[in-house]
Symmetry: C2
Subunit: 526 residues, 2 copies
């Protein structure tokens, strides 16, 4: 497949005429071919109007066919072949093995949502029988979920496949029955075109209505603002920086009709080393932590940017071992020149904070956008007094916080902002302290891990990739896993609606064989 | 029980010292005894802090005990006896029979949420087994919902019991495990104190932690703004005007940590008369519509404020019959002097709009805050061109819109803003047109009724009392019915958490006997 610099609007590849953009190779500092045309206001409006017009037809597509559409997207992505991995690697600096894994994750995610669609449990079909003899009589009431409407999706720089054009937001929105308009990430324009055309091919193959998917290209923030402001857009999915997420929230709230924004923004993922675990596994914890910190050049939302332990011999030994492990890590190429510059600046700022000591730097910074890892330490009082130490550094930098006692460790837990994850390393002897930390961490994070590392987010039914603000804009949801579909649905109640006008999922004979709540009891058909 | 002018903060009845307020009898225009003390900033802060402190203890209370707490509140409300009804009637102008019905609805709502709590389905317990042999290995993942935190509740003027101190927002928040801080509605201060003390008595009887419930009194908008701004508050429930709801949304979004606002605001509840139904039941439809319009002096969120029909003989006959029925309705006392004045002004404004004809007025306006019903008509072109005709008039006023043809009727359906309800009157001969209206109305409303009247909102599992903006601030939710509990929950994932630290609902042996999703399959234990 040849990359042509196209957008996709409805059923057509369209060349934008507002301006031109090129992808950039962060390893070689070279601009890449071809040039991509950017969207005019009319292009954006057309994509949004087509999405709105597609809504009723798309949500009426039978669930089996909707599931097949998701599976066909997966097949079409695989059919692109090695060019997808090569282009994504050139645009992102990520190694091909990592991108092959990410492609499989993207494909499996689409297949998971196909299963979710077939199950139909997300419809939450609920029936209350009429009680005509009651005073006053109770009408026949039936409830199901329907899609919110067209969804705008903004991909992330750090996952050019799994959180981008056909990533979790797109997959869950399409699964919910929502048409999707993606704004391509400028850091991987060619990758976006390849995947966008795979979705288009699947939409045509499966007979989906025109407008079910569009892909727009544009420079700067204006196109994003215009997309979120468009009246046809009814929800927004975003993965990126806190400033970017907050900007989209402001725009969405200022609309005549405000719409929900699901922004996954920033997290430093506190990592608690309890005394028993730290003493028992000092070396293993140190190397595991440094591996997790430097994985993908530290460019994961769940990167462990804050380590908390109790002062003492074991903690000192951990610091030494972690420093050594970090020094042995070679500098990796970051995703973009902008991310690299922000990382270098943030690391420098942190070094200048009073009470913060630099423990170690990783291998020397080479050419291109290579990032040298950085490890700091401070005491809990310094951490608690300095809000700047809570800011996410996107990249392989972390700070080790020494606590005098358990009370100070609990104080740090209570102090931190909302997080995607919180990790506890504990042995049986640490159970009492772990039990004290747990209720606080439940209030702070979307996912709590024991004796593991937060990087690596499983795509499954029980996953929560979310958390209280500012980790996300909406703690009630997850952007990864089966329940991500719930973000794009709303309930509708049907009162005394004649059976021939009822949707299939609410008919008496339950033709779809759904699990339903009937008169308050959850029932599963055999 | 004697009304003393108290607030409730934690376990104590407290007399506010910031100022004094009195309830007002809208029928006699008389201020009522006693004076109520209003909250100082310190009172508000204390109530919110206690709520925050109560959270971990309250959410750890076993589900059975939490359910008993809700049932005990119901018992304590019934135990207040006739003084509750008398006071509520004097404060609201509502007849005692209506208030007795509303008390039963309030009590049944608490009992429904007790059942919801016992079922435990709201926890959405989900388990994914570890796959240690997979590459990479899958960890053990378990998900449940936990409460968001302390909830601020603002009651409605028009339901001094069912949407107030112990109304749907409070009941569903307590059911979710959230402590509640209610801001008493100034239109029914005495009713609020009586119900607040019933909740306090139940909390003490059931051994609930201090701070699980507080009731604050205050004048003007400042106390509401302070409450929504308080860092301890993690969600807001509100039923009232559009301007009030929008103001709370702005405050909540401007917080350092934005929080969700569930505001039920305004709806004109379009009421479609299809030709077959209109011809077959002209008289019955006219009298049923006027009964629904004037029920409770038109002071229902689901009041039918917009009627749409096709021009012709049947529609003309409907207009005549509705006008006659309306003229026969006597003027009823409105809830407050402010609501009455707003109604009189709005009715006057509407009469001045070009293309709008007054069809009929109800019985003469008497003394006090009595409201004379009003019925207008216009053609569809006038309605579509004039946004003022879409504004909710809170009270017994409605407008009949004549459409030239089906296309114009569909255009009106597509034009209206988000609504709580939409009603279709149709016989078998109207099915084709009803089928065309349905997809549009699903996108506009939270509840769709056939051949009924929108006033009367059943408290059950399938009810949706919600809808797209501006009907509510969040179309993804309902404020009435079992699923209202979902507004106050968020998911947490537990990865490889040792079994002795797992919450009961996620343990292998499922001690609570919950329905759970296990490896993607919904399972119900026998």
């Amino acid at each position: 497949m040849h990359i042509q610099g196209d957008m996709i609007i409805g059923r057509q590849a369209v060349r934008g005429s507002a301006g031109a953009l090129r992808a950039y190779n962060p390893a070689t500092h070279a601009e890449m071919e071809p040039a991509f045309g950017t969207a005019t206001e009319a292009d954006l409006d057309r994509a949004c109007r087509l999405a709105e017009q597609a809504l009723d037809a798309y949500r009426a597509v039978p669930l089996e066919q909707r599931a097949r559409f998701l599976e066909t997207i997966a097949e079409q992505i695989l059919a692109i072949g090695p060019v997808l991995i090569e282009r994504a690697s050139a645009e992102s600096g990520l190694p091909t093995a990592r991108l092959e894994g990410e492609r499989m994750r993207t494909v499996n995610q689409l297949r998971l949502f196909a299963k979710v669609v077939r199950d139909g449990h997300f419809l939450e079909a609920t029936l209350d029988s009429a009680l005509p003899q009651r005073t006053p009589p109770r009408p026949d009431l039936r409830m199901r979920k329907i899609p919110l409407g067209a969804v705008a999706v903004f991909g992330a720089s750090n996952f050019p496949l799994a959180f981008s054009v056909a990533g979790g937001d797109t997959a869950s929105a399409l699964a919910a029955g929502c048409p999707v308009v993606v704004k391509a990430h400028n850091a991987h324009l060619g990758t976006s075109e390849l995947v966008g055309k795979a979705i288009l091919a699947a939409a045509i193959e499966c007979g989906m209505p025109e407008g079910v998917f569009s892909l727009l290209i544009g420079e700067g923030n204006q196109i994003g603002a215009d997309l979120v402001s468009h009246p046809a857009i009814k929800a927004v999915g975003f993965t990126g920086s806190r400033s970017g997420g907050l900007a989209l929230m402001r725009i969405a709230n200022a609309r005549k009709e405000p719409v929900p924004v699901y922004a996954e923004m920033s997290s430093i993922n506190p990592f608690f080393l309890l005394p028993g675990a730290l003493a028992a596994n000092t070396q293993k914890l140190a190397s595991g932590f440094v591996d997790s910190l430097t994985l993908g050049v530290g460019q994961f939302c769940t990167n462990p940017g804050l380590v908390i332990g109790l002062e003492g011999e074991a903690f000192n030994a951990f610091c030494v071992a972690a420093a050594e492990a970090l020094q042995a890590k070679t500098a990796g190429t970051m995703l973009t020149a902008g991310i690299h510059k922000a990382y270098v600046d943030a690391v420098e700022r942190r070094a200048g904070i009073e009470g913060v000591q630099l423990l170690a730097r990783g291998g020397e910074q080479g050419a291109g956008c290579a990032a040298q890892a950085a490890l700091y330490q401070c005491d809990a009082a310094t951490f608690l007094a300095n809000p700047a130490l809570e800011e996410e550094i996107f990249g392989p930098a972390s700070i080790l916080v020494r606590c005098r006692d358990e009370a100070e460790m609990l104080a740090v837990a209570q102090h931190v902002e909302g997080q995607l994850t919180a990790t506890i390393h504990a042995t049986a002897s640490d159970r009492a302290l772990a039990g004290k930390l747990l209720p606080t961490l439940e209030r702070k994070a979307g996912r709590i891990l024991f004796n593991g590392f937060p990087t690596g987010v499983e795509v499954s039914h029980a996953m929560v990739h979310g958390g209280p603000f500012p980790a996300t804009s909406d703690s009630r949801t997850t952007s990864v896993g089966a329940t991500a579909i719930e973000r794009f649905l709303r309930p509708v109640c049907y009162q005394d609606v004649p059976s021939e006008l009822l949707p299939e999922e609410l008919r008496d004979d339950n033709p779809l064989g759904l699990a339903r709540v009937v008169d308050g009891e959850l029932t599963i058909t055999a």
